[in-house]
Symmetry: C2
DNA sequence: TTTTTCATGGTACAGCCGTATCAAGTTGAT
DNA sequence: ATCAACTTGATACGGCTGTACCATGAAAAA
């Protein structure tokens, strides 16, 4: 047998190359040859590990969602366990904002995928809708938790507020992306809204 | 001389064909030949009226923004002049939501353009950022107006709230677009938020 | 050492894209 | 009626795309 190679790792390397070049030139403009050049391998190798472009793109999407999930989890862990629901929610929402380069490309590619998914059945079937749902559930849970601790009004519609919060965060994110708003202003707006849900600071 | 044709109208017809086919198959997948077929004319004619594809796309964007502006204005007019700032804001925000087919394709294509603009300089230079800014100013003005009429808390940060409101509306819009949420739920969330800004109903 | 299986490279093939070119039809003015 | 400006058509070209094919290197198993 030949030298056995860790397929999973190779696929990850290639996927990272895809993400890099797509983040630079746009997902729509990326070809297999670009990915090969970025990864420093031959075109044939890309075909070898992902038979078709569609499969490569699908894997790229999985990679992004997983990577992003880790990022958010890390940010939440970073604020510590104790400081209460408000800080956790804030960390979660701010982690989703495209403030640095990594989250910027993530946001960018994620929207690109969303646009593609609107006409591509294979992408539409992909459950990258599941992650937002999970986030929604998490925020709603935290709000209910705050309700139990008398930190917010008892009559609050936790799920509705969670949906609104996440939608606002997403909207602000694309606002930053297109250069319409800067990160500081976006976090300010988000905090303003949180201030009204929780008591004033 | 030959039969003189109204250039402006021809260009509009072609642009409408572009919007139709792009709304169906996605902006990224649309070619000049598709537009020609959809418009029922020859490829050459598309080149004649828009020398290059880029110019066609640019004109398509202008067309969309103008069309959308008219739509929002009509919706606002429809609620009448009297019923106060809250109703006007609500109408404005709900008009931006992709509830019917027309606003759906609009939202879809607008996002597509935004994604393209992230890597295309010519599109990025285009001031389709200006419209959101105008909307922001309008909402902020209405909020200040409500402040003067003692309909909202006097300490309210009108501009911040306006930004948040529009961001939430945009986020909910894409949520509807990707099938994650339905229109009714989105309007509910929006009203929930408005209820907290203005007094409860 | 030979064989077999995996890994990689090079290259060719259709097909589509946007654009350019050549050509012809149409109609108002002269 | 003739001319010339305007409008439309057909087609060709170079470039790029994703994919398929053929070949070869390398190393574990026999």
């Amino acid at each position: 047998m030949p030298k056995r190679v860790d397929h999973a790792q190779r696929r990850t390397e290639i996927t990272e190359a895809l993400v890099r070049v797509a983040g630079r030139r746009g997902l729509h403009a990326v070809g297999m040859r670009d990915v090969a050049a970025e990864a420093g391998v031959s075109l044939r190798l890309i075909q070898y590990y992902f038979e078709t472009k569609e499969k490569l793109l699908l894997f790229g999407l999985e990679y992004l969602t997983q990577r992003f999930g880790e990022r958010v989890a890390a940010r939440i862990k970073a604020v510590g366990g104790a400081p209460g629901p408000r800080a956790t929610i804030e960390a979660l929402l701010l982690a989703a904002l495209p403030t640095d380069d990594e989250s910027r490309t993530f946001h960018f590619l994620y929207t690109s995928y969303a646009v593609l998914a609107m006409t591509d059945e294979a992408l539409a079937a992909q459950p990258f809708i599941a992650n937002p749902d999970a986030a929604e559930e998490a925020v709603a849970g935290l709000l209910r938790q705050a309700q139990d601790a008398d930190l917010v009004a008892p009559g609050l519609d936790a799920r509705g507020e969670a949906i609104g919060l996440l939608a606002m965060s997403a909207g602000l994110g694309t606002g930053i992306l297109v250069g319409q708003r800067d990160a500081a202003s976006a976090t300010g707006v988000l905090r303003l809204h949180l201030d009204r849900i929780f008591g004033a600071p």
